[in-house]
């Protein structure tokens, strides 16, 4: 098991390295750091601008390959992800932003998977019941609501609720109240309150695909021969579902987790924008708008790492569930 996980992790590590470096070249090609200095007064010459960019490894006069090598050696030897065109170190932005986005994405993914799979299992074992029909319709509609619309809709609901109640029941902006709250527990509660709406948004847009696929998979498994055999050996329907059908139908669900992480990242970018969270998603938009090559690459690396973590967890789950996979 351990060797299997290590082998998978090495594969993903290669993927992360390739993706990050590819993004570096794409970013250097499409982003022009000089434009940050063009609008400054007094007007700088191109040479002055290039001189200003040189200490950050962004000098456009040197070749892309040498800039890339410089950046790569810094990342590998000192874990220094470089500077923005205006000299702000990328490393100073990363830790708190990773924390903010990480908690949002993690809680969002876990809640979506748990809620979606539970709903799928419940409705599949009661096919065409009232609950099945209602949740099915709801899920098809939610599947088609863009993250932008659902996020803004939640903001509208929360604002009218707050106005109705007369006090701020749900916070609609930021990861915590500006200026901070006194005391440890009030602070924790304050952060949790801010987390509610963005998490609800990510969950609402994320759970649907799990619900629909898990329902379809379990329905297929319920009609399989091995479930009938299990019933014939004297198991009750609930036991047969739990021990045989459910276990088999969870395998494809587990393997597909890795492929949903990019979508979750996209959802997180929009959610952070709407709810005003200073996380990696917002940072990515800022870096692109400010032509910050190093910052954009760092966000891409973060995305690749999140995908890899999801994929490795999915692999472990598959091994645990699927008796056909032998790893030792």
């Amino acid at each position: 098991m351990f060797r299997y996980v290590v082998r998978k992790a090495v594969g993903w590590l290669v993927m992360i390295i390739v993706a990050t470096n590819a993004t570096y070249f794409l970013a250097s090609w499409f982003l022009d750091p000089r434009s940050n200095y063009r609008d400054l007064r007094p007007v700088r010459t191109d040479e002055q601008i290039s001189n200003a960019l040189a200490p950050y490894g962004l000098d456009p006069r040197t070749s892309v390959l040498s800039r890339w090598w410089h950046w790569l050696t810094d990342v590998v030897t000192r874990f220094d992800w470089g500077h923005s065109p205006t000299g702000v170190p990328v490393n100073s932005e990363l830790p708190h932003r990773i924390l903010v986005s990480g908690q949002l994405i993690l809680v969002g993914v876990v809640l979506s998977v748990v809620l979606g799979v539970a709903l799928g299992v419940y409705t599949a074992s009661r096919q065409y019941g009232a609950v099945d029909r209602v949740t099915q319709t709801l899920s098809v509609v939610l599947y088609n609501v863009p993250t932008v619309v659902s996020a803004l809709g939640l903001v509208l609901v929360a604002i009218s609720l707050n106005q109705h109640l007369g006090f701020t029941f749900l916070h609609v902006a930021g990861a915590n109240t500006a200026g901070g709250v006194d005391g440890f527990w009030p602070n924790v509660l304050d952060r949790l309150n801010h987390l509610i709406l963005p998490t609800v948004n990510l969950t609402l847009t994320g759970y649907v695909s799990w619900h629909l696929t898990q329902r379809a998979l379990l329905l297929d498994a319920l009609n399989a021969d091995y479930v009938r055999t299990a019933r014939a050996t004297g198991l009750t329907r609930a036991q047969a579902i739990r021990r045989h059908a459910l276990r088999a139908s969870l395998i494809p669900t587990a393997t597909s987790i890795a492929f949903t992480i990019p979508a979750v990242l996209t959802g997180a970018i929009i959610t952070e924008t709407v709810f005003g969270w200073e996380g990696m998603g917002r940072y990515f938009i800022q870096t692109i708008n400010k032509n910050d090559v190093h910052g954009a690459v760092a966000v891409a690396a973060f995305g690749a790492v999140m995908t890899a973590i999801g994929a490795i967890l999915a692999d472990i789950a598959t091994v645990a569930l699927d008796p056909r996979v032998r790893v030792s």
Binding site: N144, P146, V149, A258, F259, V274
Partner: protein
């Protein structure tokens, strides 16, 4: 002899029944699905709105009415106006046109690429197949939205460029589905027969494998429209897609987002159009999937 032949034939067909043409059968199965019909009605209404919606307002989408800035829906402006005095009805008509054109063309293009790559990889097999799958899997797990934003922000603003960019990063998932279905098609007898007759690989892919993917492709086309509308909206909302002065549903949403509590009508009309568009396409896609299912036995009579 002729009589006997006729009898045998009659016995094979069974009870005299109205034999339906294939397209009639599909149409009948599709029409029986109430959700799919609702989807078609909504889609036709939306296309009609995009085509002739401007007759409801004297304003063009780029006209500015400086006497009515950020006004609620009224008789003069049925859907209100935005901060610049643009009539929202004209703007949503134009935005819907943009979003529809982008979504339809990207879906067609991605489908073409996906079919050629997926079916080609499955039929050619061996090293080509392994390499193609590696590339597809790599592109699937790379946070492609980030790259999409990176590329489209620098070159876009122009919706035609956006079509190219969305196509380049949108074909992988369909290609993988096409590949997995084609792997079973390549084992069929008629493919072997064609091979033995000396038909070239390329010709086998085009003439024998791709036509059998028909149903799958139609369904994937409708779902592709949904996916494209969603990503175009996200990009434009974040400011990386269609940009001012041009207008799409996504950029209209972005405009409305800032004033959501003071001027909710700026957000409501593009949001409603967007959800109607994606819901109708999903309903149609589901209906088509059921109607084109070759294992289905429904729809013979009545």
């Amino acid at each position: 002899m002729t009589d006997v032949g006729g009898d045998v034939l009659g016995g094979a067909v069974g009870a005299p029944s109205l034999r339906l043409g294939r397209s009639r059968l599909y149409l009948r199965r599709f029409a029986r699905n109430r959700g799919a019909l609702v989807g078609v009605v909504i889609l036709v209404l939306l296309i009609g709105y995009a085509a002739i919606g401007t007759v409801f307002t004297p304003w063009s989408w780029s006209d500015q009415d400086f006497l009515a800035l950020t006004q609620e829906p009224s008789r003069l402006h049925p859907l209100g106006t935005n901060q610049g005095g643009n009539d929202m009805l004209a703007q949503t008509v134009h935005g819907l046109q943009r979003s529809l054109v982008i979504a339809l063309s990207v879906s067609v293009l991605t489908l073409l690429i996906a079919v050629v790559v997926g079916a080609g990889a499955a039929y050619l097999g061996g090293r080509v197949e392994r390499m193609t799958l590696m590339v597809i899997h790599f592109l699937l797990v790379v946070p492609s939205f980030l790259i999409l934003a990176l590329v489209s922000n620098q070159v876009a603003g122009d919706w035609r460029v956006l079509i190219v960019v969305l196509t380049l990063f949108g074909w992988m998932f369909t290609a993988r589905v096409v590949w997995s279905v084609s792997t079973s098609l390549r084992e069929r007898d008629y493919v072997l027969a064609a091979e033995l007759m000396g038909v070239s690989s390329w010709r086998i892919v085009v003439r024998h494998i791709i036509p059998h993917l028909g149903a799958l492709l139609i369904v994937n086309f409708t779902l592709g429209v949904v996916t494209t509308v969603l990503s175009e909206t996200s990009l434009s909302f974040l400011g990386f897609g269609v940009k001012t002065p041009d207008v799409s549903l996504g950029s209209l949403l972005a405009d409305g987002a800032g004033t959501i509590s003071s001027a909710p009508w700026l957000f409501a009309s593009p949001a409603a159009l967007l959800v109607l568009l994606t819901v109708s396409m999903t309903l149609i896609g589901d209906g088509l999937r059921d109607a084109l299912d070759p294992t289905s036995t429904a729809g013979g009579r009545g």
